[in-house]
């Protein structure tokens, strides 16, 4: 059965390691903060100017001056620091973020990503995505395996405007965990009950499949 958003977030959280500085994009990536393994310490970076992002506030302690990159009210944890956007993006471009998780429309088997614009559709903008994909050491994409029309989002070439080139290292979808290797997409795990055949069928680029493909443990 395909994973729901919560399960994708849970699977992503498994990629977090002790001591990591992590930037989580809007949506499912942000949800992963709820499932950080209990035995590790990580620091969540939000690019508008905070290291050490905590949970959402309660109705008694929210503050209009304390928001995340999605403009949601948040809190700060002990050990947090605030800084301006120039310093915040210095952290990103300078390679100080260990893990970045973001959504995407399309990802290619060399790690190109399209995530910010659908021509003829809405004009939203770039935000911090181009900075993040250009410089983070480890970029994981969280997305559905196919779009609303059922078309594959893991492709050979992006048809949509690019966000960055050769940067995505791993993709976690509702159907599979796929690594971007020197030789292309490599299937690592499949969603519980989802067949390798279904994943192959819904992926528009060759998939390296070696041995038995285990089910994800959520």
């Amino acid at each position: 059965m395909a994973l729901d958003k919560t399960d994708i977030a849970k699977r992503i959280a498994q990629e977090m390691k002790d001591g990591y500085y992590i930037n989580l994009g809007i949506g499912v990536p942000t949800m992963a903060a709820n499932y950080i393994p209990k035995d590790i310490n990580v620091v969540i970076h939000t690019e508008n100017g905070l290291l050490g992002m905590g949970t959402y506030p309660t109705k008694d302690n929210y503050d209009a001056d304390l928001v995340n990159a999605g403009k949601q009210t948040v809190t700060a944890l002990p050990g947090a620091s605030y800084f301006d956007s120039a310093t915040s993006f210095a952290m990103i471009r300078g390679g100080h973020i260990d893990l970045t998780v973001l959504g995407a429309f399309e990802v290619t088997d060399i790690g190109d990503i399209a995530s910010w614009k659908i021509p003829g559709s809405r004009v939203k903008g770039i935000g911090g995505a181009m900075d993040l994909v250009a410089a983070a050491k480890n970029i994981i994409v969280a997305m559905t395996h196919t779009n609303r029309k059922g078309e594959p989002k893991l492709v050979k070439h992006c048809t949509l405007p690019l966000t960055g080139l050769q940067c995505v290292k791993m993709i976690v979808t509702d159907l599979a965990v796929i690594k971007v290797t020197d030789k292309g997409f490599k299937l690592l795990e499949r969603a519980p009950g989802v067949s390798v055949e279904e994943i192959v069928e819904k992926t528009a680029a060759p998939l390296i499949i070696e041995g038995e493909i285990p089910e994800m443990k959520i």
Binding site: L66, K71, T73, D84, S85, R93
Partner: protein
């Protein structure tokens, strides 16, 4: 060294049609509310502006678009403002989309006397079209030029009569970089104190970057997404 003006009207009186204005704030967080209000009333037009976002339909920098005062906006994201989106699609104003970190760095560079610098962000994308690219140590970069701003409008939590500023939590964001790059920077603060009342170790924007300062009142500080724990 007293930079205090009585109100925003006094601070903006020399802003003229066609000028380049920079705004601090990330969406509505840290927005120079009084500055936007006064510019709306002033009717000054043909502005080139830079701001991280266009705010939302009925609050923030986008109101200046709605009021036909902006001819070009350099921003990183306008996704929360449907009105601005319609107007850009209809060609009512020009939108120059730039990565968020690039906006911040271009503002800082403008204030720091650095005319241009290289960043990896946007290489190979349409946001880099028309920009020089160059390889350093085997990786490709885009050359970005510093902002030059006639005025910067920023908002801080506390300020003193020398123009020193302290921001609260994540309300610093683009305020400090934009303050650096304004030929004239107008700072509005929630609390204005005498020089000497702020600890010099705690200053986020040194007063040298600020020309006019005043204490604003009745800040709305609207929240884009009030998100609470379950």
């Amino acid at each position: 060294m007293n930079k205090v003006v009585n109100n925003i009207e006094e601070a903006i009186k020399d802003i003229k049609d066609g000028m380049t204005l920079m705004f601090g704030g990330f969406g509505l967080c840290g927005l120079p509310e009084k500055g936007v209000e006064a510019l709306l009333k002033s009717g000054v037009k043909d502005l080139t502006c830079s701001s991280c976002t266009a705010g939302i339909d009925d609050f923030g920098v986008g109101l200046l678009i709605q009021n036909h005062q902006i001819k070009k906006l350099i921003a990183s994201y306008i996704g929360e403002n449907n009105d601005a989106e319609r107007r850009v699609l209809s060609g009512e104003f020009e939108l120059d989309l730039v990565p968020q970190g690039t906006i911040a760095e271009r503002a800082r560079a403008g204030g720091a006397g650095i005319p241009a610098f290289y960043v990896p962000a946007s290489y190979g994308t349409e946001a880099a079209e028309g920009k020089e690219v160059r390889e350093f140590d085997g990786k490709m970069y885009v050359m970005e030029k510093a902002f030059q701003a006639d005025y910067a409008l920023v908002k801080a939590w506390k300020g003193d009569t020398h123009g020193n500023l302290i921001y609260k939590a994540t309300a610093n964001n683009l305020n400090n970089p934009m303050a650096m790059c304004g030929k004239i920077t107008i700072a509005e603060v929630e609390e204005l104190v005498q020089a000497g009342e702020l600890d010099p170790h705690h200053i986020h924007t040194p007063g040298i970057f600020v020309q006019h300062i005043f204490q604003g009142t009745d800040y709305e500080k609207r929240i884009e997404f009030l998100t609470l724990q379950d």
